[in-house]
Symmetry: C2
Subunit: 398 residues, 2 copies
């Protein structure tokens, strides 16, 4: 209705003779429209930047970029509190430059720094870092309690120092990772790198929920930055960590071969959502609320007791997390056909209060456990952001 009314409204506004003249004007403006559209289509997003300085570190509330490399380091024996301060000053300087499309100091490939494509670099501390900094570690800053579903490998777990490098361009990620690794080298040894991806920038319209490699719409019920309880869920207000948060990383192998044997109906029952739209089995649209009490004609719950969507949900508003994970798909080991899964990443103010109860519910009875195995697990404290002239970690190290 609005569309069909619109031409008449224009004619009314312009009047008869004026409308004829306006034809010429539209011709000129039409060219501009065309040019604008062409420019926009070809508008490169490589120069788009995310702010670095602020109350919180970037890369958490930031709309998730297409690629992320997560790194953990082991501190060298000689890296003491003063050395940690030097390290964090250097790395803050690197991140403040690189994220704004400016080469790092002594950048060996400065041209690779010029298109950040929303690059963010986010730092985190393990228990040993806080110990060497002579700071008070939150009670939750330790390996997670063991879960019976876990088959953890040391090569994907733990570490003293953590960095998340994320961008919409994989070459930018590779270059930034290299600069960070080089400048960390004197203080710490690389422990592991884990690489993840989502859909490319522009594959979908903005705001579409990602799919994981099982084909599921993944993350529908996530809290949204800038809305509702996000700030309460994510940001700590405890001591040096105020304005910071915690990160839980779980490397979850997905067994695509056994998942293949599961029919479409059973897949939807195991998740509690439809595969095509992500809508709950009790709803029509992706963002419809779950109706956990709904039953079928036989009195059975429509969303089964073992469904992931039911198990992941809590009535306790404290037991909420913010997920910001990635798919992974690495070269298979010799003799294997696949090496795929999810880098489950969550941020929450308190790991013990928010993440652990949720993970316990999933451990007890989540049908998805049949086709997934956690093979890596890490917890890091993510310090707050800093102002220009300051550095990440200053609330702990000064």
């Amino acid at each position: 209705m609005a569309d069909s009314a619109s031409p008449s409204r224009r004619q009314f506004l312009l009047g008869g003779a004026a409308a004829a003249t306006a034809g010429v004007a539209l011709g000129v403006a039409g060219d501009r429209a065309l040019l604008a559209a062409q420019h926009a289509t070809k508008d490169p997003h490589g120069k788009t930047v995310e702010p670095f300085f602020g109350a919180h570190q970037a890369g958490i509330a930031t709309d998730a970029q297409a690629y992320a490399t997560l790194l953990a380091f082991d501190l060298r024996d000689e890296t003491d509190r003063a050395a940690l301060r030097r390290m964090m000053r250097i790395l803050t300087d690197d991140a403040a430059r690189l994220t704004q499309g400016v080469p790092a100091l002594a950048d060996s490939e400065p041209e690779l720094a010029l298109h950040p494509a929303r690059l963010t670099i986010t730092f985190g501390f393990g228990p040993e870092f806080v110990n060497r900094a002579e700071g008070a570690a939150p009670a939750w800053l330790a390996p997670l309690p063991s879960f019976k579903i876990d088959a953890l490998q040391d090569e994907f777990s733990h570490g003293d120092f953590f960095v998340q490098v994320a961008s919409d361009d994989p070459t930018t990620v590779a270059h930034a990772v290299r600069m960070i690794v080089k400048d960390t080298r004197g203080f710490a040894a690389l422990r592991w790198q884990q690489r993840g991806f989502r859909h490319s920038h522009g594959t979908f319209k903005p705001g579409v929920t990602m799919r994981n490699l099982f084909g599921q719409v993944d993350g529908t019920a996530n809290t949204v930055p800038g809305t509702g309880d996000f700030d309460h869920v994510v940001w700590s207000n405890e001591g040096w960590l105020a304005g910071g948060t915690s990160l839980v990383l779980r490397r979850i192998r997905m067994d695509l071969d056994t998942w293949d044997h599961v029919g479409r109906n059973d897949r939807e029952l195991s998740v509690g959502r439809r595969l095509d739209t992500g809508a709950p089995l009790t709803g029509e649209e992706e963002h419809d609320a779950l109706d956990l009490s709904a039953t079928d004609a036989g009195g059975r719950p429509i969303i089964p007791p073992y469904a992931h969507a039911r198990r992941a949900r809590s009535d306790d508003p404290r037991e909420r997390i913010f997920r910001r994970g990635y798919n992974y798909d690495d070269p298979p080991e010799p003799g294997e056909d696949e090496n795929s899964g999810q880098l489950f990443v969550s941020f929450q103010a308190d790991v013990d209060a928010q993440f652990v109860p949720l993970q316990r519910r999933l451990e007890e009875l989540d049908l998805l456990n049949l086709w997934t195995t956690p093979i890596g697990s890490s917890v890091f404290a993510i310090p707050p952001g800093c102002r220009e002239g300051g550095y990440i970690g200053e609330t702990l190290l000064e």
Copy 2:
């Protein structure tokens, strides 16, 4: 000048009073321009498709997508000529569907097939494939002669059957690779996978030459599909391979740590081009021709004898190739900090006549050899395309 003249021209066209009215018209058209620009910016490219059927296989002359996974398989003992025919019929059907955004038959995650983002799937045959097909193998279909710069690893080299899966979306690549691996499983075992990337779709304006992880503009002198000698360089006209070509894959490790010790001037001399623009040291713009005879005041050649750009060039028009490679950056091995380099991929009608002489010149005296090591090497015959109803390989297998 053109910009400042433009308003007067408009005023002249519209006249005085009409110009006032036109202000309203521009207001309306201005909204449309804004809407068009917004729409274009948010226009998802996930649905963009590359044609599958044609005289040549897609994925060669196709403008290189952002991601590629290259796969090689070893044929099972029992896979005879009839089985190869079945395999290629099945895989052709998979590729014809997936590239058009249609799930494969029995696709276990059909939703992951709906956004091909210019997906192409390209098939190639090793010597053993042609042998089992009872066909005549071209003389060049064999491992390359050994070069003294090589440190080849079997895990990145050779194979009986080859597939290149490329798309602007990494999730699409992961899904298509999985479907291909599953449907090949009965006939052949996965030998290796190699993953590569270029800049993301949209990081730069279309047509910008990629940079490698040394920061160099890489591929300036490449022949361009649809122009000049491209068809002559690439497409074979020999027997069952007519309309096809050959693929050489070299996995070239780049030692970023030793490259770091090389100053900017020496880096530019080693390549013969400027790092910032990619222009030859004898020119101003990236696409300026090399002047190999130019000398400095002391009579020394401006582009040194050992420069890569000089060594890669030949006066013999036969010794030309078409490059379509990718950067790689895999998780480092334990105890190492990096695992980076280039998947050098070239297409040429005849490996012995076109690729080998060029590689010999680089082997003899290319300064870049100091910081690069070929660690994998493969040659495959790439059969022609097919029409709807046909299948890739039919010229060999029927």
